[in-house]
């Protein structure tokens, strides 16, 4: 059975793959959309009269969703939102320019999605335990990641 690291690699690979064209008029494109967006896919997958144009538009939308729902996309969004809501640069003694703050945010994202961090999380997290609910598993994963990040970031 695959582990969390392999799943992350699978999603990254899927997100980079172009969708096949032409799209059949009754295509069901959504087998992995659900897990990328956490949205139920029942409505679109049961729609029988989707047109070719609808499908092309849908593909464009799907590509946007892919690019924003990968871990890297999500992380940059979170960090940029944080940066806007509470500019790190407000303390001029820390960042002398906006570009330095941007570089810092970029490096934060690179470290957090690095092979080292993903491997450490995957190894400690393991697979879902018997009778562990989705929320319990997610919370366990988040707590492990928080601990790993604190240990990593505060080493010096």
């Amino acid at each position: 059975m695959f582990d969390f690291k392999e799943y992350h690699q699978f999603i990254q690979k899927k997100a980079k793959e172009p969708l096949p064209l032409p799209i059949p008029s009754n295509i069901i494109l959504l087998p992995f959309l659900d897990e990328l967006t956490n949205q139920p896919n029942s409505m679109a997958s049961k729609e029988p009269s989707i047109t070719q144009m609808d499908a092309v538009q849908f593909e464009k939308g799907l590509t946007d969703i892919f690019s924003s729902t990968t871990l890297e996309g999500s992380l940059m969004f979170q960090l940029n939102t944080l940066s806007i809501e509470e500019p790190l640069i407000s303390d001029k003694k820390i960042f002398s320019s906006k570009s330095k703050e941007d570089d810092f945010v970029r490096e934060v994202a690179e470290i957090a999605t690095s092979d080292e961090i993903i491997s450490a999380l995957s190894n400690e997290l393991g697979s879902p335990k018997e009778e562990e609910t989705e929320n319990d598993f997610v919370n366990r994963g988040k707590n492990i990641l928080r601990k790993i990040l604190r240990e990593t970031f505060n080493q010096k």
Binding site: Y7, L75, I94, F104
Partner: protein
Amino acid sequence: MIATLLRVFTFFFEFWVKLPDKTKEKIIDAIVDSFESLLRGYYKRYVAEQQKAEEEKGNNV
């Protein structure tokens, strides 16, 4: 293994140590939150694969 990150991301660590603890925690929270959908996706996929494997096992008995 994680120690290698320290050598590569020197820019990050130069500034990280200067940030107030409150800001550090907010950054860590933002990172942790961004992993949520991936963790949920993995759980769903894992459980589905396990159910499929059990069904196949049952069919072969």
